[in-house]
Symmetry: C2
Subunit: 137 residues, 2 copies
């Protein structure tokens, strides 16, 4: 048995996307620009995030199903059931989303980004810089 | 105010690294090979993870400080204090680690990987495939 840990969101996504049916499967497949709205207490954590940076945003898919262990990738029934650890399905035991986005604007604790496929209101867990080893770590 | 969410670890890291002082700052800076030991209930989620695959492992840095908002990168006091959202410091409000690793072996719910800089016993939150857009998303 392993313990449990509490995620306290550091902010929320503001997006025109409001339901999963309209959301693209990946951020570079037509996601609208949206805003990351951070808690005021997070200003110091955020202070070095700059316009033009590519960053990784971790979210909590709060409308996902956590008891799903295998899915048809991209909801395509013709594709074989695949263990969720080999897919980016939001339905998974700990529904953390990982999004690589470009920062378009910073206004206080509001950060506008491109290529984020999360629904409006999605909690933000963390932001990390992209570390290049030519690819993300 | 935003709600809270509970992370239920899907496994733990088995590593010869037992304290932060000896851990490398990034996995490709000399991290030893180690094992991801999953909960038996996660077998279906894991079933398509193959030897040779590069995957992203998300961990929970359970020995990190969650009230740290700015750090000297890489513990180098000569570098200016930097907001944690622009660093990979384990000390951050939600201490989720993101590790790109190569799968060396799979034995039931035990998965051996290269380049994981997590300490022994670190809880595993999730595993995701690397999606190439030449870089990680």
């Amino acid at each position: 048995m392993v313990g449990e840990f509490v995620v306290r969101p550091v902010g929320r996504v503001e997006s025109p996307l409001t339901d999963r049916a309209q959301a693209p499967k990946q951020g570079d497949e037509g996601a609208p620009d949206c805003w990351l709205v951070f808690e005021p207490a997070m200003a110091d954590a955020l202070r070095d995030v700059r316009v033009g940076a590519e960053v990784l945003v971790l979210t909590w898919f709060d409308r996902a199903s956590r008891d799903v262990l295998a899915v048809h990738p991209r909801d395509d029934e013709s594709r074989p059931l695949t263990g969720v650890f080999s897919t980016r399905s939001p339905d998974r035991p700990n529904p953390v989303g990982l999004h690589r986005v470009t920062v378009l604007a910073v206004a206080g604790v509001r950060v506008q980004v491109r290529d984020l496929e999360a629904l409006d209101g999605t909690p933000i867990v963390d932001v990390k810089p992209v570390l290049d080893r030519d690819t993300e770590r």
